[in-house]
């Protein structure tokens, strides 16, 4: 009988097999890559906002405290987005003509809200409470990053459940003293674990495992 395939086909056959295996692995890797990429997580993706508000300018530049605008951060689950009024307390004196601030003035005159694009947006089935986190010693910059260095606000964390669990499983690595909560530049020192353990004790943080119960965040 005559040969059906040429001698080369032996190599080709083996190549095909290896290729398919590689392809499958690559597929898996790609999915996870996309899943963790800014495309999906929006991490480090600045959004265009009605007003290009700069935390850098207001926090680092003018030294305004977080709580001046995010008033309910210590009392409510929601930290609070400043009302137009709050902006106008200063901007009725400063930059009154600035073109950038036109939407703010318009909002006040027309009595319609500014529509910001939400940067830190948890899914609706996850219930996060700012007040309790702040009280237990989780600082702003731990989740929100160095907003004092952000000319326009972006996300610094994926907000994936895995990420939440990192802290809920080992709070000691992230806690800070009450007086450091709003301190942007704060970062853990060498003896953080020791400090963390001490804060856990003094803030009555239950590390027996309740923090990783589904009911802690999902209702």
């Amino acid at each position: 009988m005559a040969q059906i395939f040429s001698p080369r086909s032996n190599v080709q056959a083996k190549v095909i097999i290896v290729a398919t295996i590689l392809l499958v692995c690559a597929g898996g890797w790609l999915t996870s890559a996309v899943w963790w990429s800014p495309y999906t997580t929006y991490v480090n993706v600045p959004f265009d906002q009605p007003v290009p508000f700069s935390h850098q300018h207001h926090v680092a530049g003018l030294g305004i405290d977080c709580r001046y605008c995010h008033t309910s951060v210590e009392t409510s689950s929601f930290a609070g987005i400043p009302a137009t009024e709050t902006c106008m307390t200063c901007h009725s004196q400063l930059w009154t003509e600035a073109l950038l601030l036109a939407p703010v003035r318009a909002s006040l005159t027309s009595n319609t809200s500014l529509k910001w694009t939400r940067v830190y947006d948890l899914p609706d089935f996850a219930y996060f409470d700012h007040s309790i986190h702040v009280r237990k010693g989780v600082g702003c910059s731990t989740c929100h990053g160095r907003v004092d260095q952000m000319p326009i606000t972006w996300k610094t964390q994926t907000l994936y459940m895995k990420w939440c669990l990192e802290c809920h499983r080992a709070p000691q690595n992230y806690l800070r003293p009450q007086n450091e909560i709003y301190h942007m530049a704060w970062h853990p020192s060498k003896d953080q674990t020791a400090l963390g353990r001490q804060l856990i004790a003094q803030n009555h943080i239950d590390t027996s495992g309740r923090l990783t119960n589904c009911s802690t965040c999902h209702r």
Partner: protein
């Protein structure tokens, strides 16, 4: 194992056919393939279908791989003071039941009222709520509410209305308003009363008429205005003549609380219970709680009351032999019990009984020296109480004579619900100009020239009095969603213009009523507390006349008219929560029935679902039959309120209209009903169509006597595995912190459904509609099972609320493939919606069948306004996920945060209250930390009556029950 010490006396069953195991019943019970379960949505066309097909494939493939869409967030322009975003506010106000105020506290999220709770400071609430109060919040967001002022159906405005009004009023000015009429429902609002007084001053010849289908006129006529106030707690013997004072009564919440408190038994030591005798024609919540209930025709009750009076030596010349057995026995026992408890007893008669009965009852109470002890004379609460039947009759006469030029109908729906023989609709046609003011556009609105949409009470300023005269100032929580106007503003427009706001009107009437040094302070305090401190008025001493009691006792069929237990006289017809609420005993929803007794059914060869033609006073309607144990032999009960033709998407064409038979001379009952089988059939949607208890021990009950001799009779009925009967380490998970648990006191539960609706409101539970209910897809998280015990003619009626048991060995958790239902460290059995893939295995393995599944997308199609009503603290579930009772996890977490923010203190006992427990009028549901031995729940669990449902399966339920106790009179062992 399952040996029941008292098995003989406790053979529970739940429907008649079942007791008499007829072949028809078998067929009905065994309707293996109920009518067309086939499911296809017609409005989807071919092209859409293909498109959707494509989409669906994508959905199947990529559904999970879609990234979160960007969300906008809109801050306030001016931050309202007191509103902290994310923190709910609570306001005290009042809702009304047949005009009587019931104090409530409304929860508001960012200005949206989302939940109604009772006001503990209010005498008619004591912190509890009725189902209707719970459902009011849904009415507020009802997209079918009247949204604009209309003239002859055309949208118009207040400013177009006023000139036309004034034109008409000018003509009335000359005649002193001889052609001017106002028709209202029962009103307790002092402000409205004052306004109508001013109105009478301005138009001396005008008339103010009243019509309320649930009128309490019989009582007012008898007492000459004020209703007695009962101190139920103080009464150790209670006799009720067809009074549903635990459910359909302005003071029901208070009376229920007091009633239950006088029956509460936890330990043998000092165990005492009151004893309730009830004589009624059709089962009621009150009757179900009775120790001795007799089913008697409504028409015979007067005779029975008289006989009782005779037994106490108050009247003579009544021949008790006219009464069929066992009634005389019942009367004798009641009489003896009463006279043995002089001053510690009470006799009460229902508003459906004629004045004569009420007079007799007063006489008896006087004789027993109960007045001033268990019964206090009431104040006049209703503004201008009168015989409403005569009142509406007079109005109709005037209209027919063409004497009415200008008619205001403030609330209500007389075209639909006025006595049919008076022909209100035709008369209304003769009124020259009529203005209707109501929340919904109903049958009456269509017959009127003008319709003014009413502002919902959560949108308006007003005031109202409770049954005992305690005033509450009704304050708004939200600006009117639509062009709603309050009654105050409308009347104001009649008597003086420019019209002031309801706020000013109400405030002014209180300023004049209670002039004080610091009015603003009093006003604010009244608003905060939801009650106006009582100025001690002089109580109206009830006028005691001796009524001549006739011995009636005719034969033949009797027709009974009763308000629908869900939607009352029809005012809640468009409220889907109430429509889908399983009615007490029958568990019917989205429907009403002609309720007949087993004996009558036998005699007429009727089966549940048979459609019969009812003829009464020459009028005919067709109605489906429901055979109800405990119904008096010759009485046929019709619930009025359904059968609405004009009631929005929910209420239109639900059930049949019983008003079509209700005549002025038989408002509540009357003789001369004829009944004819038509041969056609009707499908009821019931949440419990299979009824046999099959000798099982879900529900356990005994008598006080039995309990005192054998305290553990209930817990002994089944054998529960010991904690350590396991191969595993029984303490693998020891629950160190809070251990949440619940006790349901079957002795206190009266089966009023308040928990069911409260849960629905709190937890964003969707409604599914009649068809889905009929195929077994209802969604309520806590259901009320009812069981009958004893004979079909005189059964005991029992209720058992069933929420999730939060088993420590939860069978559901073991089988979930993705860990969507798991335990937390405080013993809660969690359902994590966002993890659930919907295998429904958990439900199969749940012996209590308390899990509910979203077979379709039930929430995305809600109107914008309905979405406003959702509770933001609870996830709105999507299609394809399981859901169930969470012990109101959101409330536990809220309380925990409050406690921890408050110097890390621990949660106090009673600080967390699930919606069901909070709404419960009898405090039958107790929730708390069972690790804390001082908590109320621990105390209840220590009772020997405590037992776990199906605990023999070693599920270790965290929710347990206290067995029900009855306190029968030894004389009446048989009853």
């Amino acid at each position: 194992m399952n040996t029941n010490p008292s098995g003989a006396m406790h053979e529970y069953w739940r429907s008649l056919e079942e007791r008499a195991r007829t072949p028809e019943f078998e067929r009905w019970l065994h309707a293996e393939f109920p009518a067309a379960a086939e499911e296809w949505v017609s409005e989807i066309h071919r092209r859409d279908f293909l498109r959707l097909m494509g989409a669906s494939v994508a959905l199947a493939g990529l559904g999970a791989c879609t990234k979160q869409p960007l969300e906008k967030i809109a801050p306030y322009v001016k931050q309202p003071e007191q509103i902290v975003p994310g923190k709910p506010l609570h306001f005290a106000t009042a809702t009304t039941f047949v005009g009587y105020a019931q104090g409530i506290v409304v929860t508001s999220h960012e200005g949206r009222p989302t939940k109604i709770e009772g006001n503990p400071e209010h005498p008619a609430s004591l912190g509890a709520t009725t189902v209707w109060a719970q459902a009011d919040v849904l009415d507020l967001y009802d997209p079918d509410r009247a949204q604009a002022i209309t003239k002859a159906g055309q949208i118009s405005t207040w400013d177009d209305f006023l000139p036309e009004l004034n034109l008409a009023l000018e003509r009335q000015q000359q005649t002193g308003g001889s052609g001017l009429r106002i028709l209202t429902q029962t009103i307790t609002s002092p402000t409205l009363g004052r306004q109508l007084a001013d109105f009478a001053k301005k138009f001396p010849n005008a008339r103010w008429h009243q019509w309320d289908p649930m009128t309490r006129q019989n009582i007012h006529i008898a007492t000459g205005s004020g209703e007695h106030i009962y101190n139920v707690a103080a009464a150790s013997v209670i006799v009720s003549f067809n009074s549903d004072f635990l459910y359909l009564h302005p003071a029901a919440l208070r009376y229920a609380r007091e009633f239950a408190s006088a029956r509460q038994v936890r330990q043998v030591k000092g165990a005492r219970m009151n004893r309730l005798y009830v004589a009624e024609p059709t089962p009621t919540i009150t009757g179900a709680s009775a120790d001795h209930r007799i089913a008697v025709a409504a028409r015979d009750i007067e005779m029975i009351a008289a006989t009782l009076a005779q037994g106490l030596g108050l009247v003579e010349g009544i021949d008790p032999t006219l009464l069929a057995d066992p009634i005389p026995k019942w009367i004798k026992a009641a009489a003896r019990d009463l006279s043995a408890n002089q001053g510690r007893s009470m006799v009460i008669a229902g508003e459906t009984q004629p004045p004569a009965v009420h007079l007799l009852v007063q006489k008896i109470n006087h004789h027993l020296g109960n007045i001033g002890r268990t019964i206090l004379p009431g104040r006049q609460v209703v503004a201008n109480p009168l015989d409403q039947t005569e009142s509406v009759r007079a109005l109709i006469r005037d209209m027919n004579n063409g004497a009415v030029d200008l008619l205001f109908i403030i609330g209500g729906n007389p075209v639909f619900d006025a006595p049919v023989d008076l022909a209100f609709a035709t008369a209304l046609g003769r009124a020259k100009l009529c203005v209707h003011h109501s929340l919904h556009t109903n049958e009456t609105s269509l017959a009127c020239h003008w319709h003014i949409p009413a502002a919902h009470f959560l949108e308006s300023w007003s005031d109202a009095l409770a049954f005992d005269g305690t005033p509450t100032i009704i304050q708004p929580l939200i600006d009117p969603l639509y062009a709603g106007v309050t009654a105050h503003e409308l009347i104001e427009a009649v008597i003086r213009q420019p019209v002031r706001s309801a706020f000013e009107i109400v405030r002014e009437s209180w300023r004049t009523a209670k002039p004080s040094l610091d009015f603003d302070f009093d006003w604010r305090r009244a608003l905060n507390h939801g009650v106006v401190p009582q100025a001690s008025e002089e109580a109206i001493a009830a006028s005691i006349q001796t009524g001549q009691s006739r011995a009636l006792n005719q034969s033949g069929l009797e027709i009974l008219f009763r308000p629908d237990p869900n939607i009352l006289d029809g005012r809640y017809a468009n409220n889907s929560w109430l429509q889908e609420m399983p009615q007490p005993f029958t568990k019917i929803c989205w429907d009403n029935a002609a309720i007949v007794s087993p004996q009558l059914a036998k005699q007429e060869a009727l089966k549940t679902g048979d459609v019969v033609e009812l003829e009464f006073r020459g009028k005919k309607i067709a109605a489906p039959v429901w055979i109800q144990p405990g119904q008096s032999e010759n009485s046929v009960t019709l619930h009025f309120g359904n059968g609405r033709k004009e009631a929005g998407r929910v209420g239109r064409n639900v059930g049949f209209n019983a008003y079509e038979l209700r005549t002025a001379d038989a408002l509540w009952f009357g003789e001369g009903l004829t009944l004819r089988k038509t041969g056609s059939k009707h499908e009821f949607a019931t949440t419990q169509h299979h009824h046999a208890i099959e000798g099982r021990h879900m529900f356990r009950a005994g008598t006080l006597a039995q309990f005192s001799t054998d305290p553990n009779f209930a817990s002994r009925m089944t054998e529960v595995p010991k904690r350590n009967e396991t191969l595993y380490n029984p303490d693998e998970f020891k629950n160190a912190g809070y251990a949440w648990g619940m006790v349901i006191d079957l002795n206190a539960c009266i089966g009023c459904n308040a928990c069911t609706i409260a849960c629905q409101a709190e937890n964003n539970i969707p409604v599914v509609g009649k068809y889905q209910v009929s195929v077994g897809r209802e969604m309520q998280w806590i259901r009320i099972d009812s069981y009958y015990n004893g004979s079909a003619e005189a059964p005991e009626l029992n209720h058992q609320p069933v929420p999730c048991m939060h088993c420590e060995h939860a069978p559901c958790e073991l089988v979930c493939p993705v860990g969507a239902t798991v335990h937390d460290d405080e013993g809660l059995n969690l359902q994590v919606y966002n993890r659930c893939v919907g295998t429904r295995y958990c439900s199969n393995n749940c012996p209590y069948k308390v899990r509910r599944f979203n077979f379709f997308e039930l929430n995305s199609k809600l109107s914008a306004s309905e979405k406003l009503g959702k509770n933001p603290d609870v996830t709105v579930r999507s299609r394809g996920v399981m859901e169930k009772c969470t012990y109101c996890l959101q409330r536990i977490n809220a309380a925990r945060h409050v406690a921890e923010l408050d110097h890390n203190r621990s949660i106090r006992d009673g600080e967390v209250m699930p919606a069901c427990a909070q709404a419960c009028p009898t405090e039958a549901i107790i929730f708390g930390d069972i690790n804390n031995s001082n908590s109320r729940v621990s105390e209840f669990k220590r009772s020997p009556l405590n037992y776990g449902m199906l605990a023999e399966l070693n599920t270790r339920p965290r929710t347990t029950y206290l067995a029900k106790l009855r306190n029968p009179n030894p004389e009446l062992a048989s009853l």
